[in-house]
């Protein structure tokens, strides 16, 4: 009996091992297995954090597992990305990112990995840029600002988030195409820049619409021009860059990425789940309320767009001498 048992043990082990292998193979498409962590590098309450949380709620229901937003600040997203790349490529860790990540890659500050090591799952929303002025500024419209800047090169100070950031680069692009010279005043965040312009310390701010809507309604800021292709509902009278004769249409964007190497079928499951989450009434309501633009883009297109943005930023940063 004892001998029999002793012989049985290895047999049982082999059977068990084979069984798990077969089961595992059968479960490959059986995703998700456990909770999904959605990393976010921006502080809670920021636009991308809000997007992540708005998306996580319906996505949890669709995927049937909790989708938990985890804040991992540091290095403008470098720390969150390093953490993501340290996880298994199984799709259980995703990352709520923005166009600013492209700036970071373009800046060459990250030496340990490149933008190609991430998989850009889905673009969720776009957000136009807007130029707005303090009422005490010597101009009330974008046209007047351009004329003023032409007469006083470099005298127009424009405040906004960061240096060599999406906001900075877009402002420089605008100035170039409009044939003017501006002086960029960097702030650590969009809200700080808006505050400085509200106080009249910097005459113009370059930001996203949601941060200034209330101030425009109260008459404390004047929206000058918007980077979207069409005028937006919040500022129906504000001209687009194109209407001004500045051939430029561009957006800030936010989306979801994961680690490259996640199996294609898992990428599809995640992409479809987030797409479905974007179509829920609650998410649409949030998009409308915050004057964001729905910006769905699939995995392939988003990856292409992100790569192009990195390359373009590299060029502009070189031109700026940054």
């Amino acid at each position: 009996m004892e001998v029999f048992l002793r012989k049985l043990v290895p047999v049982a082990m082999v059977v068990y091992l084979l069984g798990t292998i077969f089961l595992a193979a059968g479960q490959a498409a059986d995703f998700p297995k456990r909770k999904i962590t959605m990393l976010c590098h921006s502080s809670p309450g920021s636009p991308v954090d809000l997007m992540a949380r708005q998306l996580a709620e319906p996505a949890s229901k669709i995927l049937g597992v909790p989708v938990v937003v985890e804040t991992k600040t540091g290095g403008a997203g470098a720390v969150a990305m390093a953490y993501l790349l340290g996880q298994e490529a199984d799709g259980h860790t995703v990352y709520a990112m923005t166009r600013s990540n492209a700036d970071l890659f373009a800046s060459g500050q990250i030496k340990d990995f490149t933008w190609k090591e991430l998989a850009y799952l889905i673009r969720v929303q776009t957000d136009p840029f807007v130029l707005a002025a303090h009422p005490s500024a010597p101009f009330r419209t974008a046209k007047e600002m351009i004329d003023y800047a032409k007469k006083n090169p470099g005298k127009v100070k424009v405040g906004g988030f960061g240096s060599a950031s999406a906001h900075h680069i877009m402002a420089i692009k605008f100035a170039k195409k409009a044939g003017i010279e501006i002086t960029w005043v960097p702030y650590p965040g969009g809200a700080a820049a808006v505050t400085a312009t509200l106080g009249g310390h910097v005459p113009v701010v370059h930001t996203n619409p949601a941060t200034i809507i209330k101030h425009v309604q109260a008459g404390n800021l004047i929206p000058l021009a918007i980077s979207a292709g069409n005028r937006i509902a919040a500022f129906p009278e504000t001209l687009t860059y194109k209407e001004l004769g500045v051939a430029l249409e561009d957006y800030h964007f936010r989306g979801i990425a994961t680690k490259k190497g996640v199996p294609d079928d898992v990428i599809k499951i995640l992409h479809d789940a987030f797409k479905k989450a974007m179509e829920t009434p609650d998410f649409k309501e949030y998009t409308k309320k915050n004057d964001l633009l729905p910006g769905y883009m699939n995995h392939e297109d988003f990856t292409k767009l992100f790569g192009e943005t990195v390359e373009e930023n590299k060029k502009i940063q070189k031109e700026l001498g940054l």
């Binding site: 309450g45 804040t71 500050q109 240096s163 809200a191 910097v202 949601a210 404390n220 309320k289």
Partner: protein
């Protein structure tokens, strides 16, 4: 206008005193008190974690809870600072200096009591200011541009000079060390990383709370290991009344609390200045006006009352730009703003007009919350001081454990723990060599903001330094800074001059 405010406030109370909102307020202040105790895990993370649970909750109830966490944390922050020298929040760093010394003298109970009472008085006064002056102060909040912040930081450095005890040279070296540390990380003006040695974890610079916990808590444990513990000597409390502040404690704390309320509230109103800097300025002020400045740092009650009052008053102040302009004045209010937007309410300049029940219900709840916190904290003193009865090995493990968990929770980052331990060792060595540590920490906080605003001002002025002198607020602050620095010398000069005349 006064009458109008009173009337609105009464209506606000009818909202705040509903059973449901009392419950939200209670949860908020209790959670706040608890997260305040844990270092690193501060009100920002607590508010962020609770945001998803706020779905479907009425906006006013949600903000009552979230704000409760904010000012509740200011009460809790002093507990570990006083008992274990672990600053629970960045704004409790100053409390740790004298509070802990008081605990070593067996006066932990009174120190905790004074901290709770000063917090209550300042918290309540700041809500009164908020009630009556919020709309007037909105323009004050906006009057600070880069040059004004620069001059405010100069004033902060003047306060650092005041803070250095003993050897002025050693104090100076400590401050310079802090400024050097402040240069680590991405430069906000150009975006170029400095002194990060290729590590992405240093791109954001060195966080001063992590450094503070290192040089205070970890260094203290190391010191106790090396020099045979001081713990165990401070356990004889005698009667339970010794746990409460004496009449004299209350007397010496009165004016510091009042002064700190003004300092804290005004600093709180300014977006980006905040509770931490308010507590520094308050400490320096108290030391300046004190009859025995040399005793600061060895355990005086004023040095607990002042900073604790200041950080509470700052929370009331921080609500001014949030409610009147929709501008977040601090990290916590930024998160609260995000939460409100999520609930479909966009705070802005029209909030008072568009949603009066929301605003006034919320303001009224802050009165209620402060009372709750006082009632909650005083009886708990007896419980908390029991921690000090533990023997040193257990206390040491407790300190290490709270520090480790707290610092990790700060950014969910192991790297912060390395920094904490490195600074624990540095702090221990500096202490053994009699270097004061507070100047280093203060300079680390101020250095970065100082440089940033200086360079931003120069961009705005096209490189001209006169911008700091031609703007009235900036000039005033610079003059005050010079006075603070040279006050004793000026006083001496006047005295000698008079003596000369008498002859």
């Amino acid at each position: 206008m006064l009458f109008e405010a009173c009337h609105s406030l009464l209506q606000g109370f009818s909202v705040a005193l509903s059973l449901k909102n009392l419950w939200y307020c209670f949860i908020g202040v209790t959670v706040g008190n608890i997260v305040g105790v844990l270092p690193g895990f501060g009100p920002v993370s607590a508010v962020a974690i609770l945001i998803p649970l706020m779905y479907g909750v009425e906006p006013v109830s949600a903000i009552i809870l979230l704000a409760g966490i904010y000012y509740g944390a200011m009460y809790g922050g002093s507990i570990t600072s006083i008992l274990l020298k672990i600053p629970g929040e960045s704004s409790s760093v100053m409390t740790a200096i004298d509070g802990y010394e008081l605990a070593l003298k067996g006066r932990a109970g009174p120190a905790l009591g004074i901290s709770a009472i000063a917090s209550f008085v300042a918290g309540t006064l700041s809500v009164i200011f908020l009630t009556f002056f919020a709309p007037l102060l909105a323009s004050f909040a906006l009057s600070f541009g880069a040059p004004e912040y620069f001059s405010l930081m100069v004033m902060g450095f003047a306060a650092v000079a005041v803070l250095s005890t003993g050897d002025a040279l050693k104090g100076g070296i400590s401050a310079v060390l802090g400024i050097i540390l402040a240069t680590v990380g991405s430069d906000v003006i150009t975006g170029i990383p400095r002194f990060h040695f290729g590590s992405i974890y240093l791109l954001d610079g060195i966080d001063f709370l992590v450094v503070a916990i290192g040089v205070f808590a970890i260094a203290e444990v190391l010191d106790n290991v090396v020099t045979k513990s001081k713990f165990g000597q401070r356990l004889s409390y005698g009667k339970w009344t010794n746990l409460l502040p004496s009449l004299n404690d209350l007397k010496v704390s009165f004016w510091p609390t009042i002064r700190a309320t003004f300092i804290g509230f005004t600093t709180g109103v300014l977006p980006g200045a905040g509770a931490t800097i308010a507590s520094f300025i308050s400490y320096a002020t108290e030391k300046r006006v004190s009859k025995y400045p040399e005793k600061f740092g060895t355990g005086v009650m004023e040095a607990v009352a002042g900073p604790e009052a200041a950080n509470n008053a700052a929370t009331g102040g921080a609500m001014v730009p949030l409610l009147t302009l929709g501008i977040p004045g601090s990290n916590v209010t930024a998160v609260m703003l995000g939460a409100l937007m999520m609930l479909g309410l966009q705070p802005g300049p029209l909030l008072f007009k568009e949603h009066p029940t929301f605003v006034w219900g919320f303001i009224a709840s802050m009165y209620v919350g402060n009372v709750m916190l006082l009632i909650l904290n005083i009886p708990l003193i007896g419980v908390f001081v029991q921690v000090l009865r533990l023997s040193f090995p257990i206390i040491a493990i407790l300190v290490l454990e709270i520090s480790l968990v707290g610092v990790y929770a700060f950014n969910n980052n192991i790297f912060d723990l390395y920094i904490m331990f490195v600074f624990g060792i540095i702090g221990f060595l500096l202490k053994k060599l009699d270097f004061p540590l507070a100047p280093m920490i203060l300079a680390l906080v101020l250095g970065r903001i100082f440089e940033e605003h200086c360079r931003r001002s120069l961009i705005i002025s096209d490189g001209s330094f006169t911008i700091f002198l031609t703007r009235p607020i900036s000039l005033t602050l610079l003059v005050v800074a010079v006075l603070v620095m040279f006050y004793p010398m000026i006083l001496d000069f006047i005295r000698q001059h008079r003596k000369g005349k008498d002859k």
